[in-house]
């Protein structure tokens, strides 16, 4: 449906279609063009700075004008992390300077404004700084770009229904051949393991090794997601030793990966995804951290993502020459139906990584064409090709995602993820290529989700291919299973978050029982035994098929 030219009746029709799960675009109808609608005029001059992400500019403005509480709300709605001291976590891109290393100067500047360097990711610096200091920080020439540090997103989808955990023949028979002399070590890398202590000796091994890189400790501030993942690993491989580690930012993520490498784990179960962190072809900061583990011989088993119904991609097309992307020849808005209080965030990126000179901007309007959120970051050759904007819906109704070409020499290929409590309701979605990062990493195992009861592929399970054309995911595994953690909350564990630990546990179990095989051989066996689903052979929805330890 069109965001800027629909009559109220047309808007209502689009909304109803989405409510019954239809994701095809509504028929095009003639209407007013964007310029003729009641939209507020967009400033021709940019707000902010070419060195500062648009969201950070807005955050600072909101805190200045409306206070700390409003700034916190904006941060929550825009995937910006504030710590307990209300400092914003940012990622600083140093300017490339062959003669003078920028890092000491940046660290000194961060400290001078009362901030703290929290870690380094390659050349990038992650720091926590006061909101009001963000704009001051971006001044000197040593700093090319400052953006909010990316936030991890748990790959869990809440749904309904009750399911039971599969038990395997392997476990029932206690069969082994040349079992591994040492227990297999499985690392679970997640946002938090709240409540894991009370499950020790039952749903989890009697003891586990934990290490937190999260400022709020191993619980991650009440995150139970990792605990449920660890439960599944333990269900699949009861003799495996578990190493639980959590993080809250990219820098902490890297530290956690390095810790798992130092602990010589054999497998890492990873049910986390990132947005706007790379081009989707295996390159990027998160992917580099994954490769640190895989290059150490660790099998990295990660969720494919739950974005098949919340992903859209297309080449920028402006058929009427007004600067706005045309989703269809007559539609310039991708509508999403939100309820009052729904959080809605859009992550937009395009194929001009890593330092982009193609400048596109992102806007979200309500059905009266009022601007609800926007992201107008500069892309003039030294910034990443990303925008992100979010808000909390003040009222129930339709909202529209619009993309504007600000300054570009070519029509880029755009990709957007719609995240929040309104997942699955966008008008235009493209399941293909919806992998969350780092599921695109070559050498890591990406896992899609099938519902345990009927083996059907979950409609939300992210699909390949990667942007460089590789088939992903590699395997599919059950979701919707019971865990003590989520059963206590009255629901099964849905999403590729539940699927990935099944595969990680399966690898640990096979390796423990058949120590004669190398880890790579174990993975090859699992691929061979997978029950083929979808098109014959490996495909972009199920990979090699649904995980099966015995095969047919």
């Amino acid at each position: 449906m069109k965001a800027f030219r629909k009559t109220p009746l047309a808007l209502l029709a689009g909304c109803m279609a989405l409510q019954v799960g239809v994701s095809q675009p509504a028929p095009a109808s003639p209407g007013v063009t964007l310029e003729e609608g009641p939209l507020p005029p967009l400033a021709s001059a940019r707000r902010g700075s070419p060195h500062l992400d648009s969201r950070l500019v807005q955050l600072a403005e909101i805190e200045r004008r409306e206070g700390r509480e409003a700034a916190s709300r904006f941060a929550a709605a825009n995937a910006i992390r504030l710590d307990a001291a209300q400092r914003v976590r940012v990622l600083i891109h140093p300017a490339t300077s062959p003669s003078t290393p920028a890092e000491p100067a940046i660290a000194a500047r961060v400290a001078a404004f009362g901030g703290e360097v929290r870690g380094r990711i390659g050349e990038l610096i992650e720091a926590g700084v006061a909101i009001e200091a963000v704009e001051w920080l971006s001044g000197p020439r040593e700093i090319a770009w400052i953006e909010p540090a990316p936030l991890p997103v748990s790959m869990q989808v809440t749904s309904q229904g009750v399911a039971v955990t599969q038990a395997s023949k392997l476990l029932q028979g206690d069969t082994s051949y040349r079992p591994s002399a040492e227990p297999i070590r499985v690392g679970v890398l997640d946002g938090g393991f709240q409540g894991h202590e009370r499950l020790l000796g039952g749903e989890l091994p009697a003891s586990v090794t934990t290490r937190s890189f999260h400022p709020m400790g191993i619980g991650g501030g009440g995150v139970v997601h990792g605990t449920a993942c660890a439960e599944i690993v333990h269900d699949m491989a009861p003799d495996a030793q578990l190493y639980l580690t959590n993080f809250g930012s990219l820098a902490e993520h890297g530290q956690a990966v390095d810790w798992l490498v130092s602990q010589q784990v054999d497998v890492i179960s990873y049910s986390i995804g990132w947005y706007n962190s790379g081009p989707g072809d295996g390159r990027g900061m998160v992917n580099d951290q994954v490769r640190r583990a895989t290059s150490a011989g660790i099998e990295w088993v990660g969720s494919a993502g739950n974005e098949a119904q919340t992903h859209w991609e297309a080449a920028f097309s402006d058929t009427n020459g007004n600067g706005w992307h045309n989703y269809t020849s007559a539609d310039e808005g991708n509508s999403v139906s939100l309820r009052a209080g729904d959080l809605f965030i859009v992550f937009l990126n395009w194929d001009d990584w890593f330092q982009s000179s193609q400048d596109y901007d992102l806007y979200i309007f309500d059905q009266s064409n009022r601007l609800m959120a926007f992201s107008e970051s500069f892309q003039d050759g030294s910034q990443p090709p990303t925008e992100a904007a979010g808000f909390i819906a003040p009222t129930s109704g339709n909202y529209y995602v619009a993309i504007r070409r600000y300054s570009a020499s070519r029509n880029v290929k755009l990709e957007a993820f719609f995240v929040g409590s309104a997942q699955g309701r966008a008008q235009y979605v493209v399941p293909a290529g919806s992998l969350a990062i780092p599921a695109d990493t070559d050498g890591a195992i990406a896992v899609g989700a099938t519902y345990w009861r009927d083996d059907a592929g979950e409609p939300f399970s992210s699909q390949g291919p990667t942007s460089d054309g590789r088939t992903k995911p590699d395997l599919s595994a059950p979701d919707g299973v019971d865990t003590a953690t989520y059963s206590a909350l009255g629901r099964p564990f849905y999403g590729t978050s539940a699927s990935a630990p099944h595969v990680a546990g399966a690898i640990a179990l096979l390796k423990a029982r058949f120590g004669i095989y190398s880890m790579d051989q174990v993975v090859e066996i699992l691929y061979g035994r997978a029950i083929d689903r979808g098109p014959a052979g490996k495909d972009n929805q199920y990979g090699e098929g649904r995980l099966d330890l015995v095969g047919q």
Partner: protein, 240 residues
């Protein structure tokens, strides 16, 4: 397990007086008085015999098992001779601590070539010691319970024990029960070190893994049997 060889030699030496050999003591075999012509003073020229017995656990993972076979000896001197033998040894194997073999059964065909030294103590009783080489040809089968469990999970397992050259030594006593027949009992330590190979194949994907190891095949065998003897003095007696 330690070798019993020194102890055995000591016992046999104590049992064998210096004048024990019938040809030296001048005694006639007791059997001659019973109407049957006994061996001459020179003793026997050789023998062919069969035996059975048990092999006790000697190496890691090898259980007790049965042995049976035969051998032949030729004595080119009164006390010294050579012996060739072949026997089969069937042992159960439990999973070895070295992980070289899984549970199963090991059948070895063992060909021995040895030197025999004998120490007759009477016309009927002749202790002897023996020592030499042994060649093992081995066949190992994984326990059916293991292979069937693996087959149910679509795995196929095969294990091999390589052939090996080893040793044998021991001692025993011949007891002449008739002019051409003797019964004997002996203890023999037979052993070798060999290589093993195990392969596990996934019958669905075809992925297979192989592992090699080493395994000692040592075992102490307790044997009893009968021998057809060729008396040394028979030809001379015909001439006279």
């Amino acid at each position: 397990m330690g070798t019993p060889f020194p102890t055995l030699m000591l016992i046999l030496t104590l049992l064998a007086p210096a004048s024990a050999f019938p040809g030296e003591s001048g005694q006639e075999p007791a059997v001659a008085g019973a109407g049957a012509p006994g061996p001459t003073r020179e003793g026997t020229r050789g023998h062919v015999g069969f035996f059975g017995g048990v092999s006790t656990s000697g190496s890691d993972g090898l259980e007790s098992g049965a042995v049976f076979g035969g051998n032949a000896a030729f004595f080119f001197l009164k006390r010294f001779g050579i012996e060739a033998g072949v026997h089969r040894r069937s042992l159960d194997v439990v999973a070895t601590s070295s992980n070289a073999l899984s549970g199963g059964s090991l059948d070895s065909t063992i060909i021995t070539g040895s030197v025999v030294v004998r120490f007759p103590v009477s016309a009927r009783v002749t202790p002897y010691v023996v020592g030499g080489v042994a060649y093992f040809s081995n066949k190992f089968e994984v326990a059916p319970a293991v292979s069937s469990e693996l087959a149910a999970l679509n795995f196929e397992v095969a294990e091999e024990v390589e052939s090996a050259l080893g040793f044998n030594f021991g001692g025993g006593v011949d007891f002449l029960v008739a002019r051409r027949f003797a019964a004997f009992g002996e203890v023999r330590y037979v052993g070798a070190a060999t290589d093993t190979r195990a392969e596990l194949r996934d019958t669905i994907s075809g992925v297979s893994a192989e592992i090699t190891g080493s395994q000692d095949l040592n075992g102490l065998e307790f044997r009893v049997g009968v021998r057809f003897v060729f008396p040394r003095g028979e030809r001379k007696a015909t001439k006279s």
